[in-house]
Symmetry: C3
Subunit: 350 residues, 3 copies
């Protein structure tokens, strides 16, 4: 029996199966510095202990997406090593702020299985949860991936497809955000005067700036998350693959778009939920990422007068500025430069 | 009204105007490790808590230039987003040692304005100050930049040009350096036996080594400083620009030259002041940086017998070793390989 | 007299000479994060304070190879600046776990000298020791390098060649490993169920994955170790050198192979000793590194029932997967893709 991990195939998953993922990870100030250096994020709460403390945190929390990437990375060897495609996310909630020194682990439960009609692959739905070493949950989300079968002759399981929400309900937001002392929120230091009340549903914001990605950068980022998917790292094999190139981890694009969104959303300091996301097209080293955001919904959170929630749809493109808010063409197909369509809730001071 | 930052134009500045810059930043051991990894600096005081403590610091202070870059980065979105050129620095003083855990912010005051005769641009002089969240100042310096006018028809302000010192006075040096216990200075660990008394005015030192810069490296560095100037990051737009390339942040060159200068100036542990600096020519990825230094002045500091000050002129070149101390040709023009002419004070044990 | 370090030549070394190397270095969480981001290592003990504490450490120790690289880097300016070749390692022992906050220094003693018959170079053997600022030793190892003579006419010293062990004795292992509480070892979190008793002498393990190396990555790594060997950094000079390329630090390959070896050796949490190593061929940016390991010996450690030791031979290749365990051809010559042959002891829970 081989001692190397071959990853799970479609037949290896069963409904209700719980997988405890390897390699717990203590998040440190070193991870935070690397995250800043890879994306250039400038949100004041995550950048300054003093700002965060004045606002109501105990100190600067770790960027929400760094938490997401670390938890996601742990699931890769068990869930998606034999994945053909990462099909979607839903129902992602940030449940508790994470600080340097916290140790994160991840567990996944199989909540859906459906073999594809070709008999070669199937779709696996998992709910993955990130938690601290004391057991408190910090994040959970659903993702579904298309996974190869080990043996095409093996029988199909009874199909079970979970019902997933289009979006997290507003009242379920805010668990990872302390009650803010808005009187202490310094709008010079945070980067703009625009707060919750200044944004309107339907508003579109071009984030203006662009960022070119290098091979070393996405590899350094993806290894930081201990994400082992070989398509990101192995030019020797990928050179003979579908694209002839290493594929950049989709989460890298999400983090780039989020960092660019500071220009126009400086006070949107916290991602409270991930409603859904689609990696529309691949990104490769040498490409330049731009982004724009549309405001889909505004919501108050029951019992909270300190913050309000914006539901955003952030679109990232490659090699195309976003002043004209590129999205779909007349047939409803994505414009060729669109690489990410990301739907999430952010919190802002009211 | 747009929510994205368009940057200030020449007309937006007025004498006496004070701008509090966004995104306070807690400096951490993570930033220090990245700084080491990007430049390979080997000065013992900044590398070792034990060495720094024996010398008189509470622990290893953050590299002076890392402090400079962080403060400088904060000023970019407000001061130089529409700058045509970064014309110069003067009067830079390091006022207090910075340690991991300190939170830095920056404020700038407009101290000079002069419209250019073409009516299209003007020069803006600002004094920028970096300070801790408790209000103590850690750095101040003057820089002047050429900024575009929003509207060429707008009237010129009364020209005011500040009087700037050629160099900081020696007795104003040393605020960021504790009284050293020279008996504890270990010249094996610091890397050479050469102390203040061993250097002579007029001496020229070739720093020998060369360092090739990669795109990923200068981007990682510049994002670490949260410096958003798009010329450093966006190949999609810069590819159609003046150079067809991303331009490397000038401060990256200063840090490379400083790290190279360890070979010949191992005991010059602290930059006490920046008298002036000129980015003579641009640096691009793939180029190799070399450096040499000349000793312009030697000075004792009133009341201090522990350290002395050397006023250095460090010249960095690209793709040319510095054994022959390249600088200017017979007409007084810089040699084509010279990229940096940097005038500053360093402290050494006496 | 020049103030720049020209490095030592063969004539500068004498038997019994002790060299205290420059630049003590406080290891931090920042270094650990960078190490993770450069290699993607996933061993649970080094990744998680909580896992390490449960096992018996006070918190997550620094990766053994990061300690090795830092100590090695310090020796370069004094030992190998004028080296023609790094010939070998032997007798390396890890003596005490290193934690973030520890300050490391290095000292070397010359234990062997032998001039080559060409009269142009000689072999220098040194025992280098890394120690904390409190004097406790954390690592020692022997290496030998071929160094140029300053003057071919200078007389040869009496040849002295130290007797070096083929391998560290099993009972000398384990000093840097606390007594483990094996009941607390969580085999889900550590990544596999395979413990000491599951491995057999003669077993060969393909580590499956490959990792492509970029120029920025190996430069960032090698500077992090404050290793100044110019062949790694200066394309301007190396472009005219033997390979026309920057040569990747051999230690970078060792760390890549170790990180890849997690897949198949997840519970081999600690490198206890380095018996020997040979950099068979050079690695350059753009190449993809693969690795496989063979089990040479199994050993119990006197007085310890918690851990057992495997003596491994890990082979790294470039641009060739290792499913067929490439090593030597019928003439006993290394296959052309083999770049590293590394012999070391690892500890696993029993």
């Amino acid at each position: 029996m081989t001692k190397t991990n071959q990853g799970n195939f479609f037949e290896d998953f069963s409904i209700g199966q719980v997988i405890r993922h390897a390699t717990p990870r203590t998040v440190t100030a070193g991870d935070v510095a690397l995250y800043t250096s890879l994306y250039g994020s400038r949100f004041a709460v995550q950048s300054s202990d003093a700002f965060a403390y004045a606002a109501g945190y105990s100190k600067a929390p770790v960027d929400d997406l760094l938490v997401f990437h670390i938890v996601f990375g742990k699931t890769v060897p068990d869930i998606s090593l034999n994945a053909v495609a990462n099909l979607g996310y839903a129902g992602g909630r940030f449940l508790s702020p994470v600080y340097p020194g916290d140790t994160l682990s991840a567990v996944s439960e199989v909540i859906g299985l459906k073999e594809n009609s070709n008999g070669k692959t199937g779709v696996v739905y998992v709910r993955s949860t990130g938690y601290r070493s004391d057991g408190t949950e910090v994040l959970d989300y659903v993702r579904w991936v298309m996974v190869r079968k080990r043996d095409e002759a093996s029988p199909a399981p009874d199909p079970i497809v979970p019902v997933l929400p289009d979006a997290i309900e507003a009242d379920a937001l805010g668990d990872a955000c302390p009650i803010l002392d808005n009187g202490e929120w310094d709008y010079d230091l945070s980067g703009s005067p625009w707060r919750f009340s200044d944004y309107e549903v339907g508003e579109r914001i071009d984030h203006v700036d662009g960022m070119t990605v290098e091979e070393a950068e996405h590899q350094i980022a993806t290894r930081l998350y201990q994400n082992t998917a070989k398509v990101h790292f192995n030019q020797h094999s990928e050179g003979q693959g579908r694209f002839g190139r290493r594929l950049i981890y989709g989460g890298h694009v999400i983090s780039l778009a989020r960092a660019l969104s500071f220009n126009g959303l400086s006070n949107a300091f916290h991602i409270a939920a991930i409603n859904g996301g689609r990696h529309v097209a691949p990104l490769f080293a040498g490409d330049t990422v731009y982004a724009w955001s549309g405001v889909r919904e505004k919501a108050e959170i029951e019992g909270r007068t300190d913050v309000g929630a914006l539901r955003l749809r952030t679109i990232a493109t490659k090699n195309r500025p976003c002043a004209d808010h590129p999205l779909t063409d007349y047939d409803g197909k994505y414009e060729p430069e669109v690489i990410l369509d990301f739907d999430y809730w952010v919190l802002l001071p009211r």
